[in-house]
Each structure stands twice: as structure tokens, then as C-alpha cells.
């Protein structure tokens, strides 16, 4: 036993000083943005946090966990922004546009989506983390579903199954974001935003729209 204050097996460290974790995650965001999530070293993060590599790993156990928590943190932040903006946007069509712009990748170097790509390439195994990511993904679908329900309620949209449309639209935006990341063709972000808006409008528009 003795438990030398170290990290518990595969879970989160139970040790204190959450501000240290926050500092590391902040540094990680910067480092990832500069170096890229695939190339970033623990050393890069430690440098920017003003700590040693051993110290950083004392809090996170594994390098992967730093990237995972960074993504989770950025998703939590983004979800807050999303919910705030959606609440401020009464028109359902405008809300769809807001959501699409927040969800879709900014460009080939979009940090958030590059982290997602990293995660999918090496998926986490522990149930806790898997559930956390499932909730993040769900929250986008639910947010869009609510927008659509509002559109239906206000009479500007029409559908039998808001949840299905929302889910499918999110998966489509996933694919679009991946193509933006790959940057194979000219397929730009602006083009993807327009495609999402158009296809949703075509599917949900009431007759007169």
C-alpha cells in the first residue's frame, strides 16, 4: 500500500493542486497549437508550463492522458460558448448556422479536430473516458436537436424525427471536418458551412420557404 502520493492505476490522479493540472493543460494547448498534437513532446508541454517532464507526468501518468484532458477541456469550453450563443439566437435557421460554424473545423490545422483525429487513431480504453467523450458527442446532437425542435415549434421547420436529422447532420459535419483536415482539394471551411446550411434547409424547409 503506502501509496506514495502517486497516481491511481488508470484513472485520474486523486492528488491535490488542481491548479497544476490546469496550468499543464493550458501549456498543452499552446504547445499543441504550435507543434501539432502528433509531434508534441512531453518536454514541449513541460517547457511551456515551467516544469520538468517528470513533474508533468506525475499529474497525468501518461502522455495520452494530457491530450485527452486537453480535448475534453476545450470541448467543455466550446460547449459553454455554444449554449450561450444558441440561447441568444432565437431564429432556428440562424442557430443552425451558428452551430455549424462552431462545430466544423477551422482549417487544416484546427487544434480541436486534430486532437479528435489523434483520439480516434488511438482510442482510449477506460470506460470513464469513453463515457466522457460519448457525452461530448451527444451534447452536440442534442443541441442541434433542440434547435430543430424550436424551428418546428415556431413553424419555420418541418420534420418527423428531429433527433435523427440532428444526429445525421452531426455525422456529416464530422466527415466534412475530416476532409478539411486532410486538405486534399479546395474544399474549404466556408464551402462546408454553406453545404450544411443548404442541406439542412432543403431537408427541413416548410413548403413556402
Amino acid at each position: 500500500m503506502v501509496a506514495r502520493g502517486r497516481v491511481v492505476a488508470d484513472g485520474r490522479p486523486s492528488v491535490g493542486k488542481p491548479q497544476m493540472r490546469a496550468r499543464v493543460l493550458k501549456a498543452a494547448m499552446v504547445a499543441i497549437a504550435e507543434v501539432g498534437p502528433d509531434r508534441v513532446r512531453v518536454q514541449d508541454i513541460a517547457d511551456r508550463a515551467g516544469m520538468s517532464t517528470g513533474h508533468v507526468l506525475y499529474y497525468f501518468g501518461r502522455r495520452d492522458r494530457i491530450l485527452i484532458d486537453t480535448l475534453l477541456l476545450s470541448e467543455v469550453d466550446l460547449a459553454a460558448v455554444r449554449d450561450r450563443r444558441l440561447a441568444r439566437t432565437p431564429d432556428a435557421w440562424a442557430a443552425v448556422d451558428v452551430l455549424a460554424r462552431l462545430y466544423l473545423a477551422d482549417g487544416p490545422t484546427d487544434v480541436r479536430w486534430k486532437l479528435w483525429a489523434q483520439l480516434i487513431a488511438r482510442p482510449p480504453t477506460d470506460a470513464q473516458t469513453v463515457r466522457a467523450f460519448a457525452e461530448v458527442i451527444d451534447s452536440w446532437g442534442i443541441a442541434l436537436e433542440n434547435v430543430i425542435r424550436r424551428g418546428v415549434a415556431t413553424g419555420v421547420m418541418r420534420t418527423d424525427d428531429p433527433a435523427e436529422v440532428a444526429y445525421r447532420t452531426c455525422r456529416c459535419m464530422d466527415g466534412l471536418s475530416l476532409e478539411i483536415l486532410l486538405a486534399t482539394r479546395g474544399r474549404s471551411r466556408a464551402w462546408a458551412v454553406r453545404l450544411v446550411n443548404d442541406s439542412v434547409r432543403r431537408e427541413l424547409a416548410t413548403t413556402g420557404d
Copy 2:
């Protein structure tokens, strides 16, 4: 100059013995299936090919290139299967089903999609490879577009823009495959196949269908 028979800078090796490359790629497929594309070592591939690691890298230069070429090879094979089966399937709705089943990930361990994930996480930089992958992606869109055109021609489908529907459907299948890979919820392959079939049918069905 002198060029000691080595690999040219970032491109393909110009050296002979293509059967050696083929042998490595075949071994790579096995190794990747067993170990996973993220964990597979050059040693694993070399072992299965009956060669040394140095020998393997003599032909491919970088580990990444092995994975890239493995994916390209498997895509070429799959495209051949796809075109053959589609040619044998006159009914457009049935053809959509065939294509969806070939395109979508088999399950959380699907090798082809795991390689795609790997590729997106660390995208290739050289123009030649980027173009090759763009063509692979395009070929799926074009194949689906042709199916839809056939459906329209035979009067069982209706749409203004077959290319747009095909493209969007492919991106949706990308997103679905990613979720199958992540295996967060019960979202299974069978469920995804049905979703694609249903949504395409809903979008393209003629009135009486």
C-alpha cells in the same frame, strides 16, 4: 550524386524488385490486423516478411510510408470489388446498400478505417500522396453518384443534384464509421447501414415509393 541505389528524397523508391515491396505490404496488412496500426512496429512487419528492419526501411524510407502504401493498396483492391459488385447490381436501391456495406467500417477494429484514422492524425505532406488519396475519396463519391444517376434514369430515384447527394452521403458515412471506430455507444455497423439506406431512400424516393 553517386546515388547508392537508395531512396529518392520524399517520393517513392525508384529501385527495382517491386515484388519485395508487395511482400512487405502483404506482411504489413497481417501485422496491422494483429497489432493495430498505431502500435505496429517496423519489427513486426519485418518479422512477418522474413526480412530485417533495415531491409524493410530500405524500400520504404519511413514507417509512415508503409502504412500509407498499405492503405492505398487496400483501397485499390476494395475499389475493384466495389465496381465489380455495382456492375452486377442493376437495382439502384440495392446498389446503394452494397456500396454502404463496403464503405462503412466493419467494427471497432476495422483495419482499413483504422489506417484512415492514422492518416488523418498525421496527414502526408507530399503532393503526390495527397493527390492519390484525393482520387481514392473521389472514386467513392463518383461511384455513388453513378448509382444515383442510374436510379434517376430508371425512374426509381429523383433528385436535382446527384453529385451533391452522393458527396454528402459519403461524408455522413465517414462520420458514422468514426463513431463505429470509437465504439462509444451501442452504435453498431448494422445500425449505420440501415441509417444510410433509410436516409438515402427518404431523400431520393419518388413519390410512390
